[in-house]
């Protein structure tokens, strides 16, 4: 009950910040449109497929999740930097209520965000003669959930450790790194070598790959990268929860 009350409040706090719409919805949609225009300008002979709408949509969907990390991080750090948190600590709320209250609403927002991204992609697909399969979109959204958990965990982790001045800087680094190393804007496999191997180890690449394979309908091939991302999501989330709980205990020493 308390976690639901706290979740509702988290949703309101995030949704009432106009920047949430600009970054979490506006920016991914604008990037979808711009990169589709770029894609149309690239000659077919170049053989560059990364900006085709079927490859771009899952990448941008994951890119959008990284902004959710920023807003989770800001929410946690803002709460922690004000006397509001004292009021909550003095209430009967338990650490589990805090954790659920930060995670559940944001997870819901990531699903909504992915749905809007794919809806926009379907519209764009009509203009570039690409038809999406509904079932593939649904599986893709499902496969993006572990990636969402990775980003939410980073948000909780950095929000716990950093103040609201430092948090955006660190999040910007992760947003940039995840999009580059995840292969959203460039084909890391074409680059190959140590760089590609390094990218393969990270959850961002595996998250983008599993989402792209899901959208293609290659569900068998998708299983491995999806599982890797899932394990990353669980492990990083457990770590973030541990850090948050520990910090809360330190706060009331």
């Amino acid at each position: 009950m308390r976690s639901i009350v706290f979740s509702k409040r988290t949703v309101k706090e995030i949704l009432r910040d106009p920047l949430s719409y600009i970054f979490c919805l506006g920016f991914p949609i604008v990037m979808l449109i711009i990169m589709t225009i770029v894609d149309q300008s690239i000659p077919k002979e170049a053989g560059m497929e990364i900006f085709h709408i079927n490859k771009l949509a899952p990448g941008i969907a994951l890119f959008g999740l990284s902004f959710i990390m920023l807003f989770t991080c800001l929410q946690v750090s803002k709460d922690r930097s004000t006397a509001f948190i004292l009021r909550l600590y003095a209430s009967p709320m338990k650490s589990g209520d805090f954790i659920a209250g930060y995670t559940l609403p944001v997870l819901l927002l990531t699903v909504l965000q992915a749905m809007i991204t794919f809806l926009t992609s379907v519209v764009i697909g009509n203009f570039v003669d690409y038809q999406f399969e509904l079932i593939n979109i649904l599986v893709c959204i499902l496969v993006l959930i572990p990636s969402a958990l990775v980003f939410i965990s980073f948000g909780i982790f950095f929000g716990t450790l950093l103040n609201d001045k430092a948090a955006p800087g660190i999040c910007s680094i992760i947003i940039t790194a995840s999009s580059m190393l995840g292969g959203i804007w460039m084909d890391v496999d074409t680059i190959g070598g140590a760089f590609a191997r390094f990218c393969h180890v990270l959850p961002f690449y595996q998250g983008v790959r599993s989402a792209r394979l899901a959208l293609e309908g290659s569900f068998g091939e998708m299983a491995k990268p999806a599982l890797i991302t899932f394990v990353y999501g669980i492990v990083i989330y457990i770590f973030a929860v541990f850090v948050l709980k520990r910090k809360m205990q330190q706060d009331i020493k």
């Binding site: 509001f84 009021r87 209430s91």
Partner: protein, 242 residues
Amino acid sequence: MKYAIEVNNLRKEFGLKRVVKDISFCVEEKTLFSLLGVNGAGKTTTIRMLTGLSRPTKGDATILGYNITTDLDAVKKVSNLSPQDTAIAPNLTVRENLEFMAGIYNMDKEKIKKRTNEMIQLFSLQEVEKSKAKTLSGGWQRKLSIAMALITEPKILYLDEPTLGLDVLARKDLWRIIERLKKEVTIILTTHYMEEAQQLSDSIAVMVAGEIKALGTLEDLKQLTGKDNLEDAFIEIAEGGM
């Protein structure tokens, strides 16, 4: 005589520094007890220990019979505080802030609505009830912060410097509300304003460097120091003149 709060040799150390030094005091039910002291005297740390925001290094205290270390969950249910800094959710409206607080104390929907309306009435928040908390002036925010503490029907209410930074009208307004609350709730007040303590308190403790140097009614303190007002009595005690 029934005590709402009993504090026994409560101590708090941060590393080698002892900020609260084995203090003891009792607070009668439905009275207002003021903790006075200069900055760093240990007032806020004492309140933090009593509300479960800080663990005592030694000693204990009971709140309506519940021990602050062993029955903390029960303590949290019967008490609430308005912290020194305004503690509100900035993007929620005044009404939503109140409903949120009532919600995390597990009140049912009907009761949440009833208590929210009561608080809006009591603190005259009608004209700002739909405004986001962050857009309110300091005075309104402070009122909301106290209303958020009171909506949960605490038996013990901690007000940590509730009128700090308010203009004289807003302060007087809050005093009127606190006067009314005294009849129903036990209040622990910390303040730097002697006039405030003088007007509102049933009993007063003066803390100096983590110790309670004087404890009693206003008349007791005046008699103890031979001064005719609280400010002079406080200065006498705080400067170690007795």
